[in-house]
Symmetry: C2
Subunit: 469 residues, 2 copies
C-alpha cells in the first residue's frame, strides 16, 4: 500500500538530534521501512509518508517532543492507532508524526464523582471495560472501539452505535490537558458537573482533529451501568417501511439506546461474513437495543415491537439472551469489514441528515448508484440520521474513481439541501476538506480560519486538515 | 436603586439619528427616567446607567441596529429580562443596551426531529410550556425560568434544578445564528443529532456571556416527555447526613432528575415565605424528584428512600400528588426570594465543587460565616455539587461589605483548592471577573484573551465582562 505514497522530505536534522536525546532509541523511527505503517490510516486512497515518527512513552516526553518541534517550526501530526476514516492523521509534507499509543495509562477512576482520567493512547475498549469492572458505563462506542484510542475519539468527536440515547464523545469529556502553539500546557474543564467560568475552550478542542493543539490528558464522565438491556431485530420488505418505523418509534416517545439500519446489500455481505442468521432476502433491517431499568426496557421493547409491526415489519426476532444480543451487535459492527471484502477499495461515507429526511436520503443514494453504475451499500445509525453509504470500488480504475467522486459530490449537495452535514462522526480531515466551505458558508468558514490562525499562527498542528492551507 | 448609578456618557449623536430611522419611536429610549430599569440586573450592588436602550422588534431590525453600532464602534450590551446574577448585562460606559425581549416568537416546532426554533427573547417558561403542549420536554429549568429569556440562558449556559440527570442549557442548543464583529450573520449547527464538520463554534458562543457576538436565533433540542414523576422530601438532623445520603444515592447507581439541598436557615426562610409545611427544626433537607418510565421511577424512589433512611433521615415525606410535588418544587424555587426578604442586600453565590467535596464545602462556608460575623444561608443543587451560599447583608454598611468580600475570597480559594469552579451556572460577568484568572491559570486565561481579541478586535461586545479590559 505504501508504494503509492510520495517520498517524504527529510526531517530537520537538528530536531532529529534533539529528539534522540528526548526519547528512547526505539521510540524514534526514520528508516523508510519503519515509516510505512504511518503513511496511511483507515481511509482508502490516501497515503503520504512522514519525515519521521516519534512514539513518546510518557507525558513529559510528549511535552518535550512537541515543544522541540514547535521551536523549530516543524509540523506535527498526532495519531493513535490510525483507525480514522477521514485521512485526519495522514502525514503532511516534512511533518513529524507523534504517535500517542504508548501513553496508554488509566490514571484514575473516581467512583464518587463518576469520572476517569486517562492518557490519550488508551484504547476505547479498555476504557469501556474498566468502567464496567467498576459497575459503571462509558457509553460512546465507535465502530472501531476495539482498536481506536481515546485521544483520536476526542480529536474527532467520535460517535458510535449508542449516540441516539447517550450522545457522542463530546458529551463524556469533562476536562482536557492540551499543549498550545506557544508550548504552554493548559488544563480546560474539571470534575464539576456544572462549570460556566469562561468560554468553553474544551469544546473547541473536542472535534478539532489535531489542528489546534496536542491533547495530553483526558477526564471522562461515566454514568451508572444500565441494569438491563434487550435487543430486537426487525426485518422489512423496503427501506421506506424501516424508516417510517423509526419515525413511529420516536413519535411514540421511545428513545432506544441503538437504532441501526442495514440495507439489503449490507445484510447480505454481513451474513456472508458473520453467519449470524440475518434474513438475506429482506429489503432492510433494523437492529434495536433498549437499556436501563428492567421494567422500562420491557415497556420500551413492547412499544418498539408494536410500532415495527404497525409499519409492516415482515419479521421480528428478539435476542434470546445476552450472548445472542452480543452476536447481533458484533455482526452489525462488522459491516465495514464485511463490505471491505467485496472489492479492492472501500470508501465509507458519513453523511447525516435530520431524522425526518432519512428515507429520502437513502432512496437518493440508491438513485445515484444506479445513475453512475456504482456499487453503494448503505448502513448506519438511523436514529441519529447518520448514514454510511459505502462505495465498493477499485482505486486503480481511474474512470470508476471519477464516477465515485461525482457521485459523492451529488450526495453531499443533496445532504446539505436537506439540512444535513457532510460528516456525522468521522471528521473532515483531508477527505472532506473540499466540501466544508459549502456546508459552513462564508461567515462561518472565515471564522474557522481566524480561530485556526489565532491558536496555531505558524500552522504547525496537523497542517492542511479540516481547512485548506 | 438607580440613584447610585453613575451618570451615563451620551451616545454618539449620529448613531442615535441612525437608530431612529431603524426602529419605531417607542423602541429607542434615551430619557434618564426610561433608562432606570436598564441600569441593573438581578445582581446586588451593581448598577450603571446605559447611554441609550434600543428594543428591536424583529430580526432585521436587530441586525441593522447591531451593524450600525459596530460601524460607529459603539459598545453593545445585549440583555433580555435582566434576571442575570453575575452583572453580565450591566451597561458599560457609553454603551448601547440592546434589549431582545421583543424578539419573542417561537418560529418552528418540529416534532419529527424533536427541535424548536426560537428567537432570543422568548421566556424560558414559554418554551417549556410549548414543548409540553406537544407532549415533549425542554429540560433546562433555571430558577428564574418564569421571567428569564432563552437568549440569556444560552449566553450564560444556565443550569437549573434538573441538571443532574438532564444537563444544562448547552446540552439542548443544536444551532445558533449570531452576528459577528464584522457585521456578518453566521449560522452554527443544525438539526443533525451528530455533526462533526468543523470546530464546534456553537459551543464557543454558548456561555460566552454576550462577549463574542449577538445571538439572533436559537435551535433547541427537545426530548420525549417523561411519563411519570415522583417527588420526595427527606429531612436530616445534619448537613453531613444529607451529603452522605446524596453520595449513597449516586453509589446506588440512581440519577434522580432533581436532588436539591436546603440548609436550616434556608428552610426557615422558605417556610416563612411559602407555608408548605417544611420541617423548620431540621438541620438539612433534600428535595428529590425522579422522572421517566413509571416502573423505573417507582424503583428509583424506593432506592432513594431506603438510602436516605440508611443515612439517618429523620423524616421522609412523599408528595401525595402532582399538585403537592409542584408546591414543594415551587417552594424550593422561591428560596432566593424568601432569603431576599431578610436583609436589604442579598448576594447569591454560585460556587461548585466535585460532588465528593460537598459536605466539606458546606461546612467550610458555615465556618467562614461565623468567623466574619456574617449571615450566609446555603441551598443548591447537591447532585451537581452546585451550591448557592447566599449572603444576607446590607450594602450600605461598608464595614460589613468588606467582610463579605473577604469571606467570598476565602470561599473561592477553598472552592478552587477542592477542584471546583467559581461559577456553576450564573456566569462570570462583572461580579466574578476578578476571580477568573485564579481559576483558569495563565495559559488558559491568555487563550481566552486571544479568542476574545480574534472575535471582537475592537472590544465592542459587552466590554469588561468575563475578562478584564
Amino acid at each position: 500500500m505504501s508504494s503509492g505514497a510520495p517520498p517524504a522530505s527529510p526531517l530537520d536534522a537538528e530536531l532529529l538530534a534533539e529528539l534522540r536525546q528526548l526519547v528512547p532509541s526505539d521510540a524514534l523511527l526514520t528508516a523508510p521501512e519503519d515509516l510505512i505503517p504511518y503513511a496511511f490510516d483507515g481511509t482508502a486512497a490516501h497515503r503520504a509518508r512522514p519525515a519521521a515518527v516519534v512514539i513518546p512513552t510518557d507525558r513529559d516526553q510528549l511535552i518535550a517532543v512537541v515543544r522541540a518541534a514547535l521551536r523549530r517550526e516543524v509540523p506535527i501530526v498526532t495519531r493513535g492507532n490510525g483507525t480514522g476514516l477521514s485521512a485526519g492523521s495522514l502525514p503532511s509534507t516534512g511533518s513529524l508524526v507523534v504517535c500517542l499509543n504508548r501513553l496508554d495509562r488509566i490514571l484514575e477512576l473516581d467512583p464518587a464523582n463518576l469520572t476517569m482520567m486517562v492518557e490519550p493512547g488508551v484504547v476505547t475498549q479498555t476504557i469501556s471495560s474498566a468502567a464496567e469492572a467498576a459497575d459503571l458505563f462509558y457509553p460512546p462506542d465507535p465502530g472501531s472501539m476495539k482498536i481506536s484510542t481515546i485521544g483520536g475519539n476526542v480529536a474527532e468527536n467520535s460517535g458510535g452505535l449508542r449516540g441516539l440515547k447517550y450522545g457522542v464523545t463530546r458529551d463524556y469529556v469533562m476536562g482536557l490537558e492540551v499543549i498550545l502553539a506557544d508550548g504552554s500546557v493548559c488544563w480546560l474543564g474539571g470534575k464539576c458537573v456544572k462549570d460556566v467560568a469562561g468560554f468553553s475552550l474544551r469544546d473547541l478542542f473536542i472535534g478539532s482533529e489535531g489542528t489546534l493543539g496536542v491533547i495530553t490528558k483526558i477526564l471522562l464522565k461515566l454514568v451508572p451501568k444500565p441494569a438491563a438491556r434487550r435487543t430486537l431485530l426487525a426485518t422489512f420488505a423496503s427501506m421506506e417501511d424501516a424508516a417510517s418505523a423509526v419515525s413511529g418509534i420516536i413519535a411514540a416517545k421511545v428513545v432506544p439506546c441503538t437504532l441501526e439500519f442495514l440495507d439489503q446489500k449490507t445484510i447480505r455481505c454481513v451474513e456472508d461474513f458473520a453467519h449470524v442468521g440475518l434474513p438475506v432476502s429482506a429489503g432492510a433491517l433494523l437492529l434495536i437495543e433498549a437499556d436501563g431499568n428492567p421494567a422500562a426496557v420491557d415497556a420500551e421493547i413492547a412499544v418498539v415491537e408494536a410500532t415495527c409491526r404497525a409499519h409492516h415489519a415482515t419479521d421480528i426476532r428478539a435476542a434470546a439472551d445476552a450472548a445472542e444480543a452480543t452476536r447481533l451487535a458484533t455482526a452489525r459492527r462488522s459491516a465495514f469489514s464485511a463490505l471491505a471484502r467485496m472489492r479492492p477499495t472501500t470508501i465509507l461515507e458519513d453523511v447525516t441528515v435530520p431524522r425526518s429526511e432519512l428515507a429520502r436520503m437513502v432512496r437518493f443514494i440508491e438513485t445515484v448508484a444506479t445513475k453512475h453504475d456504482l456499487q453503494i451499500a448503505t448502513f448506519g445509525h438511523f436514529g441519529d440520521g447518520n448514514l454510511h453509504p459505502t462505495f465498493l470500488t477499485d482505486e486503480r480504475d481511474e474512470a470508476e474513481m471519477v464516477r465515485v467522486h461525482t457521485a459523492m459530490q451529488e450526495i453531499v449537495t443533496m445532504t446539505l439541501e436537506l439540512g444535513g452535514t457532510i460528516t456525522g462522526e468521522h471528521g473532515v480531515g483531508l477527505a472532506k476538506r473540499e466540501f466544508l466551505p459549502q456546508q459552513l458558508g462564508d461567515a462561518s468558514y472565515q471564522l474557522h480560519r481566524q480561530i485556526k490562525r489565532t491558536l496555531d499562527p505558524a500552522g504547525l498542528f496537523n497542517p492542511g486538515k479540516v481547512l485548506a492551507p
